[in-house]
Amino acid sequence: MADTTSTSNSTGASDADQPKIDLKNPYLAAALSFVLPGAGHFYQGRIGKGIVFCVCVLGLFLYGLVLSSGDVGWGRAVYWKWTPDDRRFYFFGQACIGAPAFPALIQSSLVQNGEDPFLYGLMAPPISSQYVVNNHGQMQYENLSAGNLEEQNKKYNFTFHQIRKSLNKDYELGTLFTTVAGLLNLLVVFDAAGGIVIEKDDKKKIKETEAKDNK
């Protein structure tokens, strides 16, 4: 990472083409970027870059939410649940996007307290299910807390397997997109805190140009 003021890139553009970056308070910028992608760059006055990051990261996240939406509710690939039958490791990546993933925590709290999720089940965790043996002697999943299917549809209370069956491959793609978007936001946070990445060759060029300028 660069110092608080950096002047170079590794794209072949000359150093003179790059404006000097005033990172202001890098810790505050990093925190703002962690809460909302691109917010730290807006704070630093790097508006163009902030817009690019905001569009790319939020675009990927929203695309993932749209893919994992359907009859079973909105954005079902993003949720927080930590029970023996469902440990949602993906949420650690998804949560790195900050505020956009925050509804998942509210929905998780509501569902755990026995209340129904709001806003078409947006980012609501699935209800618990267990294996039971049916009349044909086969193993199948059964809901623990849900009522009949009509009631489930109204309250968006579905098990993981109902959601997975309804959304099919889109569920996996939604999980992938939202997780990648969250992890990419970490790059945005680092960029807000430290400026652009400068490689060794660029550092040599900067020293050479600085030495020439001093002469």
Partner: protein, 59 residues
């Protein structure tokens, strides 16, 4: 997997490329140029990989 599902990789690759390019350049024009260059490389790599897999394994 249905071939149409590979189309979903387009926004994913574009997003990753632009953000990676954003960590290396400061002005928007350079980010866009570098982003498209990286995404083109990734698309070519993906295309060649798919052709090799299709020819060798038929999948």
């Amino acid at each position: 997997m249905d071939i149409a599902y590979y189309l979903h990789l387009i926004p994913l690759i574009l997003g990753i490329s632009f953000i990676y390019a954003g960590t290396r350049c400061e002005d928007v024009k350079s980010i866009i140029q570098q982003g498209f260059r990286i995404s083109l490389s990734m698309f070519m790599f993906l295309f060649v990989s798919l052709v090799i897999f299709y020819v060798c394994f038929g999948c």
